[in-house]
């Protein structure tokens, strides 16, 4: 059993009005240390799948287990706590709290976890250095470029030592240089620190960096291939 285990998950939006089937019977397992891309045409269900895995949305049927914990039956507040402890998120945009500096953004989740100040401070320095922003730590998001903001978001997602990081189109708003820079950092963290990444993307250059590519079509897995 892997770090993520999805079994027979379907998701139907608006079951009462005009039902939209976003996922149908998706099953997959992600092992620790993977660097996996979810691809597929627009509307194929990538975001829905990531949201269901991340406990942001509930599947209509099927089961999702993260690190051996079944999350399908948890309440809203239990899900929030679960996400805080076990899952790192990188969204397409609006990842950071605008009124906090890069440093404060990274320590924020650790603060929610009541980690001691010394540990927070040390880990924040270490993570911002790992994403190459050691000299930007006291800037607010508005003072950083889009690529820098996404790198802070990766550092922030890693801060609570989650089981894996979910990233829905993390490079969609970035120019190609920033995008490849972000990918370099993610790949290095994956190789050197063993961080598990599961991300969705449209971008062929990003797809080329993935070591496993899962293709969704109409809410179902059409292909699942490993690259060397």
């Amino acid at each position: 059993m892997g770090v993520i285990h999805v079994e027979g998950v379907s998701k139907i939006y608006n079951p009462d009005k005009i039902p939209v089937t976003a996922l149908q019977g998706v099953s997959l397992t992600i092992e620790a240390g993977e660097f996996t891309a979810i691809v597929g045409p627009s509307g194929s269900g990538k975001t829905t799948l990531l949201n269901v895995i991340g406990g942001l949305d509930r599947p209509t049927s099927g089961r999702v287990a993260v690190g051996g914990h079944e999350i399908t039956g948890l309440s809203d507040n239990e899900l929030i706590d679960f996400r805080k402890e076990h899952i790192g998120f990188v969204f397409q945009a609006y990842n950071l709290i605008p009124v906090l500096t890069a440093r404060e953004n990274v320590s924020f989740v650790m603060l929610l976890q009541n980690r001691p100040a010394a540990e927070r401070e040390a880990r924040t320095q270490e993570l911002l250095a790992a994403v190459g922003l050691e000299d930007q730590i006291d800037k607010r998001p508005a003072e950083l470029s889009g690529g820098q903001q996404q790198r802070v978001a990766v550092a922030r997602a890693l801060a609570p030592k989650p089981a894996f990081i979910l990233a829905d189109e993390p490079t969609a708003n970035l120019d190609s240089h920033s995008a490849s820079n972000l990918l370099d950092i993610m790949a290095r963290l994956n190789e050197e620190e063993g961080v598990t990444f599961l991300f969705s993307t449209h971008d062929q250059r990003v797809i080329d960096r993935a070591r496993r590519v899962i293709t969704l079509v109409d809410g179902a897995i059409a292909r699942d291939e490993y690259r060397s």
């Binding site: 975001t47 949201n51 991340g54 942001l56 949305d57 809203d76 507040n77 929030i80 706590d81 996400r83 805080k84 402890e85 998120f89 969204f91 397409q92 945009a93 609006y94 990842n95 709290i97 605008p98 009124v99 906090l100 404060e104 320590s107 924020f108 989740v109 603060l111 929610l112 976890q113 922030r156 997602a157 609570p160």
Partner: protein, 413 residues
Amino acid sequence: MIYLMAWRNIWRNPTRSRVVILAIALGIWAALFMSGFATGMMRNYIQNAITNVVSHIQIHHPEYQADNNVRYTIPGADSLRKTLLAIPEVKAVSVRTLVNGMIASSQTARGVQVKAITPGEEATVGLSADKIVEGDFFAEDRKNNLLMSKKLADRLHVALRSKVVLTFQDLGGNITSAAFRITGLYAIGDEPFEEGHVFVRRQDLNRLLVADLTDSLNVEQHLAHEIALLLSTPDQVDPVQAELQKRLPGLRIETYREVAPDLRLYESQVQSVSWVYLIVIMLALVFGIINTMLMTVLERYKELGMLMAIGMNKWRVFRMIMLETLFLSLAGAPLGLLLGWGTITFLGHRGLDLSRFSDALAQFGMSNVVYFAVPQETYAQAVFILVCTAFLASLYPAWKAIRLRPVEAIRRI
């Protein structure tokens, strides 16, 4: 860090926040201004009532108040006056003889109370020369001079130097009459009092009261029904009263609040009035605060969704929005309090002259200049009510914030 975030969040839209902060400051200022005005009016009214009518403390025979019979005299009143003047808190004492009777002019008659006084004593406690609008304050040394108000003179169709006849019951129970000449007209700005009271010399009235008695000379000197006291420290009224009551168990000692219960009522009413002002104004501000905070929450929909996605639970989000509301509301408090305090101190010193607007005040026994004042507690009241208001105003936006679903918020990214 939630505190820091809440504080910084307020300044994300500085113009909007400044408007709210300013509105709150002005609201507090307005409430303090109105309380200061009301309290100033009250003190003005009470001060006038004390100097013109009731003084701080009155001493009577225990039965006098119920019956007003001339027989209920205060024994040894004049030597008691000297004892009273020796008390450090006592500033002035006036001994009075009182009778209820009839005053008649050639055309008409009315019931009045005759206050018989020794001019030198009375001037230090109640009626004095500066209240005389025509004639003088017992300046000539003739017998049977009388002071009445301008109002009463008009009612009786008499003028200065007219003769009037007083009729009353003497100590022997006989009806007696005497002619008095009007040598002065007074005005104190208290119509009911002015229409019902005339002043004569105590020696004149005492002589008439004891005319039938055999040892009249002896009684005449002692005869008095009322001793009125003015204190140098008005806030000592209650302890001084208690002390006097202990020393003079056979007499009734009353403070102005007992002599004129309407004054006490007025005092207590004004204290609650400042609560009413504050609550009404804050109620109006509540909607402004709620509106601003709702806008803030809606604008930050995505951000709040992200916060909940990465692990900030609902209670923490709720608390953050509440804190923001509290900070926003309380930020205006120091400014409002300072403005209010400044205004009250200034107008407490200089006074606000209302004579331009009306002389109506004078008709109710008040002076035309109002000196603003508020009890110290009013400032604490203002802060207390503001905190309650802010707390209430924070609940709805905070509740709105935690109702959002992170998936939907994030979808909109």
